[in-house]
Symmetry: C4
Subunit: 262 residues, 4 copies
Amino acid sequence: MEDFITVEEYESEAHKRLDRMALDYYRSGADEEITLRANREAFLDFRIMPRFLRDVSQIKLDTFELFGHKMTCPLGVSPTAMHKLGHPQGELATAKAVASFGTVMILSTLSSTSIEDIASAEPDLIKLFQLYLFKDRNVSISMIRRAEQAGFKALVLTVDAPQFGLRRRDIRNKFKVASDFLANFRQQDDQSIHQLDYIDSSMNWSDITWLKENTKLPIFIKGILSPDDAQLAIDYQVDGIVVSNHGGRQLDCAPASVSISS
Amino acid sequence: MEDFITVEEYESEAHKRLDRMALDYYRSGADEEITLRANREAFLDFRIMPRFLRDVSQIKLDTFELFGHKMTCPLGVSPTAMHKLGHPQGELATAKAVASFGTVMILSTLSSTSIEDIASAEPDLIKLFQLYLFKDRNVSISMIRRAEQAGFKALVLTVDAPQFGLRRRDIRNKFKVASDFLANFRQQDDQSIHQLDYIDSSMNWSDITWLKENTKLPIFIKGILSPDDAQLAIDYQVDGIVVSNHGGRQLDCAPASVSISS
Amino acid sequence: MEDFITVEEYESEAHKRLDRMALDYYRSGADEEITLRANREAFLDFRIMPRFLRDVSQIKLDTFELFGHKMTCPLGVSPTAMHKLGHPQGELATAKAVASFGTVMILSTLSSTSIEDIASAEPDLIKLFQLYLFKDRNVSISMIRRAEQAGFKALVLTVDAPQFGLRRRDIRNKFKVASDFLANFRQQDDQSIHQLDYIDSSMNWSDITWLKENTKLPIFIKGILSPDDAQLAIDYQVDGIVVSNHGGRQLDCAPASVSISS
Amino acid sequence: MEDFITVEEYESEAHKRLDRMALDYYRSGADEEITLRANREAFLDFRIMPRFLRDVSQIKLDTFELFGHKMTCPLGVSPTAMHKLGHPQGELATAKAVASFGTVMILSTLSSTSIEDIASAEPDLIKLFQLYLFKDRNVSISMIRRAEQAGFKALVLTVDAPQFGLRRRDIRNKFKVASDFLANFRQQDDQSIHQLDYIDSSMNWSDITWLKENTKLPIFIKGILSPDDAQLAIDYQVDGIVVSNHGGRQLDCAPASVSISS
């Protein structure tokens, strides 16, 4: 693995190492995976017209500042669920890598390592917390308070999953994890948590107002694709958006996130 | 089969179960099957720009009303011929499924179960009758009367098959069925029926006027692709149109029915 | 073969029956065969928007009249060389088929059956003679006189081959035929004939004027692709043009003959 | 090999003869080879609309004059590195072929035959010298003087490689050559030469002015793709540009050099 030079080599190695249920969970998109494929193929359409005879002896990637901290590069780690499916150290390993690289990590609500364990292991890491709005708002408030106390810098509310995407391999594999695998949920949390039935699909823009009233943390919205929704995000004074189609894992037939035109 | 989650799985199972002549009849398009393929591929070109932060806790499919009956979803069963090629229960099974699902079925003139048998088995089913105009108009009038008496709600006149499409597999298989397999034809009916030579290819818009004079049932026209023909349908006061290229089974090189532009 | 219903079946059978040199000669295009492929693929881009409810009980193909004779269909047989490579009866068999079908045949200068043998075998066939302009104009004049005497109705001058296309299979096969295989050339004809070096590549529009002075037959020009050349053909009062890229056999990278736009 | 008629046949033969490290060096593009593929595929998009009935009996390729010498065709040999990887005679064989063909050769700075050896072997060859600007300008000046003395007609400054492209096969092969394989570098030259770390990535348009002050030879710039850079080349009074993306070997995702539009 020290000799790997492309992402494809790591992907190929992962296919050998992961058990089937975890591999399928990681690699699958919703329904016919039209958007999953479009996400990859869209990158092939870009042509960059190079300019030359510019002094490029000093080039730098640390152009990006977040919450007063200079990121070493304008890339961060998006929230993805359950890293322990891939490795026993799970999100702790991810956080350690991100911290040593000097950029930002968004911890998933569905992480297999808890808010508090990440915070105590990597206190200097710039970290954001990805949030779902739950039917039981007490669970949401509880998680927000824990993220605040643990020193997370912002909340990243996922808005593109009012219904979970149908990933065929997961259905065939009857994908499930142990009841204590999702580390951010506590015993007293609603039982529906363990049935993946906890997202409040009535969520709408008025909930953004509610959310702003219930935390001092900056609020980002993740999952915006339409320019009109981006304008609404400005109107509702959110602090930022993440343009994303959730990796093609929720709504199939959505445009590629990096498509030049929709 | 209880575990099937995609249409492709049912299709693959059908390939195993059906005899070759039936399978080929069901799956073939006209000539080079350019339109058959275009029908499928056109769906891949659609990208749906999603909007989020809308309350989607209450979503419903029963937005569609037909003849005063609310359909449980805006989908129905189009007329297809000879269901008994696929299963001994034939159109009776289809009608039972459609009735239990609470939507609409259009029975084919070329059904392997008769108008009357469907009506008596599923009296509450909202059903329409697909019609061809025959060279012997007495046969047409007879079928219209039987559909009226059996409680069918409307006639759906197929206009896109003045000549039958040349499906190469059917020609190679010398496709034919027993003389009594088409359940809506009676012994006294013209012998040409059994030579698939019964459609009146002189059919034209004046026949729509004739048809309206000969039945009180609403009249739909099935097979319209051109906007100009749609306008003529309005001019001739038909009650509705079905945009269709007959599944690519009649005229090859016609545009896909769902193509964004022609 | 009686059961064949598609052109592909005949093509596949021909692949089995022909010797390699003949097969390669028939199927090859120039250079990289970009135009050969484009010619086929261009047909797949056509979509025909059908109109319905028109009386189509009387349909006819005999809409096309040529030299006062009604063709049974608006299709004819283009000039292709050396039919005896495919079958011992060669162009005689082709002429017999065309005559019985009631349409038109253009005999190639490079035919393996002579002008006179075709004329005496099928005196009633409507036939045109495809012409090259030779470096030795006496050979051209001689062939024109023979075509006139044999009752050919027009001359079809091929203009798209001032240089012969490089067909790689022919080069590899060292394609050649016996010295008497090209039936329209006579012993006294220039030796260069047998070296495929007889076309006058200095041919230009003034030669059209010369040709009109040397025959009373109507003159068609075959091989026009550019609209500007079509206009010049009108200016020079030729009697017709054949839009063609010579089946992709001469100039590679030319547009498909039926391409919607160039 | 005498029977080869396409470039593909030579390429296929080369695959058999070359050792893997050399073959990979020659055939690889940067990163994902998107531009390498685009370079080839762009040629397939051209359609040339032919015009006919023009006198083409006299056609000639020698329309191109360079430094007062008529080239036999408007094609020359671009600078490519280390021909001895392919054959022991290396650039000497190339120069001999170009000279006998009567066109132009650009010798690479990274050639495996020296400036002086090429000049003495082929004194009449019209030859240009491809130049990199080195961090140690003394090395650059030294090479310029040697090219001047050896009778090279112009300098061709490569501007598209301020950083070397990452060619994955070369990385995997740990591509390297012996320290004396690059024949234009001398023992006293900077050691970094042998670490492929000699290009001055601070190079900018002001260096064009510097270069013009340090040689009387005409200066061409190689690697321009953007029209804006072409205009700058005019503004800085360079004598010519070579439109090129370095064969897709430096910057991946650049447009194809012959693309109709960028």
